[in-house]
Symmetry: C3
Subunit: 147 residues, 3 copies
């Protein structure tokens, strides 16, 4: 492993740290900067209007849609998201992929959720900065309480 | 700290990430590859047949026994395991030890557990790959609910 | 990013790991070694005598006061603290700052707390060892149950 590989791994860890922190702090103008413009995101296990009986899948195409939908979804509540145990593989000087374990805790008007799963992601380096290009969130388990 | 030391630390972090992820995904054929053949493991705070009154200790000798017992224990439920805050010390080009904080969440037919503790481990590099050689899990606290 | 920068980042991660582990293990003589003598710490969201209605702020000046107060606060209970998703910036060979997501779980005689927030910290290198110089803990959310 070369120095530039270890540097890329650390930079991608800090990229994902900003993804989580800026979302939970609702700093959406900064949050958008962690993504490529053409980012695609698939989140499994999103509670629907009837709570835990309708865990659904959300798909977003492009940074504008992703930021608009996630900021709207979280606007009326509190979120806590953490990533754990990264497995980051640098596949070229400007591409990488990663797996993260995750925990999320959402307190929204219609439900409270504690969820557990894994992210699988692709990263690209654009103009010297690593960005998230694709996101897939799968779930091990969710505990959902309807309001 | 030399580049090879930082590389070893990152490789051991990814080794432990596979330990957690492949267990929770029940991918036992891949999980076994994270251990040496002679691995020994001691897990404190394993609920017994009567739930929280009988938190016991599990000891496994050798990879075959470890994989057989853990896969059987988790077969009928859901597990989520995360490691945090690694303190990894590389003691030679082929040996290292580490401490990890841990959280586990088990939903099994007879009980649900949320546990907190620390792993102390030894690692060895075999044929170019880091493996887990010894595991000791101690507990700060467990919240156990019997079914 | 140079090798010495990556080394400093790893050393600061292990410093913060000792901060959490030695506190939860109540090893106060070792815990004090992670701080500069003039450390200042501000912790938001500390439950007061009437529980969740009185989440307050604790301010400590100097290592002696910090260790005395935190060890007294935690003496009669169990604590679990974990840091996640570090964003560490090395600003000179002997200074750095960092942001950490955090989770804490406190079980004390008068209340149980599960809390979520972020640390913002400054680090300095003294006699070859990184130390914590300033701590600011802010909260996203706390779930508090009064006894």
């Amino acid at each position: 492993m070369e120095l530039t590989t270890l540097e890329a791994i650390e930079q991608i860890k800090q990229l994902k740290a900003r993804y989580f922190r800026l979302m939970d702090q609702k700093r959406w103008d900064e949050w958008r900067e962690v993504f490529t413009e053409d980012v695609t995101a698939v989140y499994h296990g999103v509670p629907g209007s009837r709570g835990s009986d309708t865990l659904a899948e959300a798909r977003y195409h492009g940074r504008a849609e992703l930021v608009a939908q996630v900021s709207r979804f979280l606007a009326k509540g509190i979120s806590v998201h953490h990533g754990h145990m990264p497995e980051i593989e640098v596949t070229s000087p400007t591409t990488a992929r990663g797996i993260w374990a995750m925990v999320d805790y959402l307190r929204l008007p219609s439900f409270t959720l504690k969820g557990y799963g894994h992210y699988e992601e692709d990263y690209v380096k654009e103009a010297g900065l690593w960005k998230i290009k694709t996101i897939l969130l799968t779930r091990l388990h969710c505990d959902v309480t309807c309001a």
